[in-house]
Symmetry: C2
Subunit: 199 residues, 2 copies
DNA sequence: GTCTATACTCGGATAGAC
DNA sequence: GTCTATCCGAGTATAGAC
């Protein structure tokens, strides 16, 4: 129960908190990211911050949602409107994906937050559980549109690409030398059997 | 500093602890796996257990090492002897990999432990940091032997396969419906351009 | 709505007896 | 080598004043 009554203010403040949190973790990294630390960075006391979120877990889950929102806007992913009539150009999606990943390698804190929650979300009680289920579907939906293999069904293809993206992040966290974007790029190129020769 | 002096006993006991821990987590899952809980399962007090390991982190890192040891024996991975003269049959490696993965989907607790530590190991101070660096090399070394793509350099190919394996685990933790082994199997098959027709 | 203060829990680590 | 006991820190959550 975050806010009751006049929640116009409440919602706005919530947004503001999420934006700031996102910024802080992106900038300063995910240390032990405690509610207290975030609160200070946001300019609130710990109790003040928890006035807007039920728990730390909920806060962080919402942060990830907000991040997706940003990424979608900034890099133009198909999001939930993947069903709309516009036939999306696979090459455009491919390009967006690469740019998101390239961007990710500049915000290790967010990547760590994401990966950490991805594991904790194994527990169905965790607020992030549903988030990861939904997000997985969205991500795979986008990848399916780029499916370009005759030996792999599109859904399997999509799941594999999602796995590569997530798995590379784990490698990169341990060894920041790993060129996530470059590798995905090579993979996508290799999978495009038929060279996308322009007419 | 786990043991000094007559460490014959110490080493043996350490092994025994690791075996039991492995068994407990495999069987009962990784709950919040605290040292205390493991200690009880192992038949020791918390302090008694920590007599053999410097910290919780070290304990769990060693557990992962022990697990790799088992997997290597049980499924015949190339391990560190990947440099030996014997030319290893790619098909055999491929088969081992599938079997390891199939096995993994029966021990969610171990998969969770692995994934959790993989993230925590981002910190170079973490005992598991080196473990993951080394293990990554070993795993990729094995995958390189199976490289079967003319459009991808073997090291990139290997890194991608590692990423798929790790990434699928994350998906599977959130949704145990995901057929990790099946997907990897399809991928490997798809990547084998030239059908491995026997002479 | 926000703060201060506090309570509570958990878990890891350590001291010291046996 | 193992236990009991204890300590200590971290971190979340809550109560209550303003």
């Amino acid at each position: 129960m975050a806010q009751r009554g006049s929640y116009a203010k409440g919602v706005a403040k919530r947004e503001e908190i999420l934006e700031r949190t996102l910024d802080v973790i992106a900038t300063e990294g995910y240390d032990g990211a405690s509610v207290k630390r975030i609160a200070e960075a946001v300019g609130l006391s710990q109790a003040g911050l928890l006035h807007y979120f039920d728990s730390k877990e909920e806060l962080f889950t919402e942060v990830l949602r907000k991040r997706d929102e940003h990424d979608g806007e900034q890099f133009g992913l198909p999001d939930d409107r993947s069903k709309d009539a516009d036939p999306v150009d696979p090459a455009v999606i491919r390009d967006s994906v690469i740019r998101v990943i390239r961007h990710n390698s500049e915000v290790p804190g967010l990547v760590e937050l994401f990966s950490r929650l991805a594991v904790e979300a194994a527990n169905p009680e965790h607020p992030a559980h549903d988030y990861f289920l939904e997000r997985g579907e969205t991500v795979r939906g986008a990848f399916e549109l780029t499916a370009a293999s005759d030996s792999l069904p599109p859904d399997v293809y999509a799941r594999i690409l999602q796995a590569v993206a997530d798995g590379l992040q784990l490698q990169w966290l341990v060894d920041p030398t790993v060129d996530m974007a470059g590798i995905i790029d090579q993979l996508l190129a290799a999978l495009e059997q038929k060279p996308a020769a322009t007419p």
